[in-house]
């Protein structure tokens, strides 16, 4: 098959074509690895777990952001052709490697750090698994920070400062975490100008999350909670 792989750096680059032997069971990551091992040892790319756990191998595959380790060639091959590029919406370091810093910085900006409400000397808070809050949090905590949703979001594309689906979904899990000490402050953070109200509910994040998470819905609920919080006078004394 004909595989086009983007090669270059932050300043620019172009696609280079490689003829890669097709196998019965072959992921996109296998293809990229084959090229690096057999055709072009200078090719840079990133991966670790190869089983959809670490979130480091995401790339644009025929125009769609995907985990390359869990995407079978057969599923995405178009007329015997494959196009692999670095993730959208993040600065390229080299070839298929992007700089994930902006993505992680936004997690912090959206209040993603845990603020403990107890010390090690206190008893562990008992949280019933069937409460709304716990269910809401559960829906988002399987995120592995792969940035697939972030690369699919056209709002990030048009406003690079927008916090983006993953960070806001993280904020929503925190707002629902009874053990967190500053949930009101998180609602204030996400209501700021580059926060949740930027989201147009276009759902590309949800459509492409390989973990079947629903950041769009998390953000919709976050919007509602943030509005309630502001109406109740939140943020005024912060």
């Amino acid at each position: 098959m004909d595989v086009a792989i983007w090669k270059g750096d932050g300043a620019g680059g172009q696609y280079e074509h490689f003829a890669v032997p097709a196998e019965d069971n072959q992921t996109i990551l296998d293809v990229v690895s084959w090229v690096q091992q057999n055709a072009d040892p200078t090719l840079s790319y990133r991966f670790a777990c190869r089983v959809g756990m670490c979130g480091s191998c995401a790339m644009m595959v025929n125009g769609t952001p995907r985990w390359t380790c869990r995407t079978h060639v057969k599923k995405v091959l178009k007329d015997g052709q494959l196009k692999v590029a670095p993730l959208n919406n993040l600065p390229v370091v080299k070839d298929l490697v992007v700089d994930m810093d902006p993505f992680f910085d936004k997690w912090i900006k959206a209040g993603g750090l845990h603020a403990p409400s107890k010390t090690r000397d206190d008893d562990i808070a008992a949280i019933a698994p069937d409460t709304d809050g716990r269910q809401n949090a559960n829906a988002g905590i399987e995120c592995i920070n792969c940035s697939v949703c972030y690369a699919a979001c056209d709002t990030v594309r048009s406003n690079p400062d927008y916090l983006g689906p993953a960070a806001l979904q993280r904020a929503w899990t925190i707002v629902n975490d009874e053990k967190h000490a500053a949930r009101g402050a998180v609602l204030d953070l996400v209501a700021q100008s580059d926060g949740c109200f930027n989201c147009h509910s276009m759902g590309s994040c949800t459509a492409h999350c390989p973990n079947d998470l629903d950041p769009m819905q998390a953000i919709a609920r976050l919007k509602r909670a943030a509005i309630k919080h502001q109406l109740a006078g939140g943020g005024r004394d912060a």
Binding site: M202, G203, R224
Partner: protein, 115 residues
């Protein structure tokens, strides 16, 4: 060409909402201008109303009502999504919004031609 990652119903609904909004924004100045004629130059307005009786113009008006309805029901869909806890029925919501818009515009067309 539409990038591959945009190939899903919610993105289409978003695009439709944007385009109908833009279309309406372009139309509004003309709308206000014609309304203004009623106040200042009634003769010209009569001429314009005669022009409005033309079937092609009526068809164009159908498009306008469709845009308006698409934008309105699209907005209601978003409000439902964001303020009621609607889950997993997004496609249904989009379909309902578009068909309601279409029905409304057709109704308008029928009336326009029966007068």
């Amino acid at each position: 060409m539409r990038a591959a990652y945009r190939n899903h119903p919610l993105w289409l609904a978003f695009a439709l909402h944007r385009l109908s909004g833009l279309g309406l924004a372009l139309f509004l100045p003309a709308h206000f201008y014609v309304l203004g004629l009623a106040l200042h130059q009634p003769q010209q307005l009569d001429g314009f109303l005669a022009f409005g009786a033309h079937p092609m113009v009526k068809l164009a008006e159908f498009g306008l009502v469709f845009l308006l309805a698409v934008h309105m029901f699209g907005g209601l869909r978003l409000l439902a999504l964001e303020f009621l806890s609607i889950t997993a029925r997004q496609k249904t919501l989009i379909a309902v919004a578009i068909s309601a818009a279409f029905a409304l515009a057709c109704l308008f067309l029928l009336r326009a031609f029966s007068i």
